[in-house]
Symmetry: D2
Subunit: 140 residues, 4 copies
Amino acid sequence: MIESPDVLSRLRAISKTAAFNTWLDFDVTRAAAGEVEMQLRWRDEFGQYSGFLHAGIVAALLDTACGFAAATMSDDRVLASQISVRFLRPAVADVFVVRGSVVKPGRQQIFATAELFSLAGEPVKILAVGDALLVPVTTK
Amino acid sequence: MIESPDVLSRLRAISKTAAFNTWLDFDVTRAAAGEVEMQLRWRDEFGQYSGFLHAGIVAALLDTACGFAAATMSDDRVLASQISVRFLRPAVADVFVVRGSVVKPGRQQIFATAELFSLAGEPVKILAVGDALLVPVTTK
Amino acid sequence: MIESPDVLSRLRAISKTAAFNTWLDFDVTRAAAGEVEMQLRWRDEFGQYSGFLHAGIVAALLDTACGFAAATMSDDRVLASQISVRFLRPAVADVFVVRGSVVKPGRQQIFATAELFSLAGEPVKILAVGDALLVPVTTK
Amino acid sequence: MIESPDVLSRLRAISKTAAFNTWLDFDVTRAAAGEVEMQLRWRDEFGQYSGFLHAGIVAALLDTACGFAAATMSDDRVLASQISVRFLRPAVADVFVVRGSVVKPGRQQIFATAELFSLAGEPVKILAVGDALLVPVTTK
């Protein structure tokens, strides 16, 4: 990943305009053309009934990582048309890492994928994977 | 929908054990065998960067509706293995309604689907649809 | 379904230009604005290793039904960007019926869904469900 | 990929029992624990209406690659509960290559993913990606 400080600053600025992202309080830690990494520290209010990270928050992280990865390659804002999430393991960690990347860019639609990991312990475990089909806002 | 007060009470009790559900503060408004309805009142902290309901919260509602619909037909707790969400329109409403139903029950896996609507205005608009594949916890 | 003979003829003509559709030899039996029905008679060469209808043929039928439903509402040709299929039961029947419908039309993308049934026996069984996100060819 | 001649022979034998696989006439070219590669030579009868590889055949290849990857890690037969396919580019090639791999094995369910490539030209192009959730037959 060839990191880009400008892109990182832009994504952080975009994220601050999203109220729910602000509540989640994840950090955009890396960004490059077509790639992004974010980290989220666990808080008890994130839990589902077994105490794992709630499926909706897993989806929020994967969707956002896909959208931000797309945003590194587009001046337009993008919106997800569809997302899917596969829950591989109970999402338990002190710190979650999510990495998004563009699979296929395009003028009309952008395919992206993302993975959620735990940051603690060895080996690092993959917890969930997802993908998104994104559309530039101006053409939707 | 032949409503069941007992099932409704049970789902509300389960939901209270999920910290993120408590934060969202939706209400389980109806429940019957294989079916459930929930309502969520808009709060500004739910927004993504355009002010629409965040994709993660859309996913949380659809996933929960699928899980609760499955829970009406199973004594076991259920976990989603995979979900998908299709965003049909910008999710904007004062009150959101989500309806979940079981498509195919099973001992090893349960297929469920859910729809998100706006409650305001005529005609009522469908905003998003989703589906989930759920697995009873004891056998996962 | 308000049936349209003209639309039905057009879909049958389109289907004949697709070599694999010709090999499958399904019939487009009904068509209306946003809706389509097709029927496929079982042949042994359609089987997977247990003798059920092969997942690829299930996907072909659901994808085609979604595409044809979209084609009833668009003068452009459409291509699927993504499909998903949920296999509810072993797909076994003498005659399969597949029904597709448009969930949300649009200039840039069309959401459609389809269901696969067996035609034999009572009650009729739903075997699989699927959905597709379609894009008009000229704008892809 | 640490290749395994025994696994390769077993997968080829399984594939021969599936009538539609025999009609497609793809070859299982490589197999190892959790991984598989197949090749399919283009025939005109595989086409959709624009002459690209039909979405149903793309799905058949991705689904089969996921299933065979799972079969390398399980003595049971496996069935797909759900698949999804993302069509990144028109699927055109003289020879198609599909690679499947297990993302997360399990006793009750197996997550797998697969990619479809063209074999001709430089650079090799990825045409489609998909994923499957598989269930061992004995426990479904």
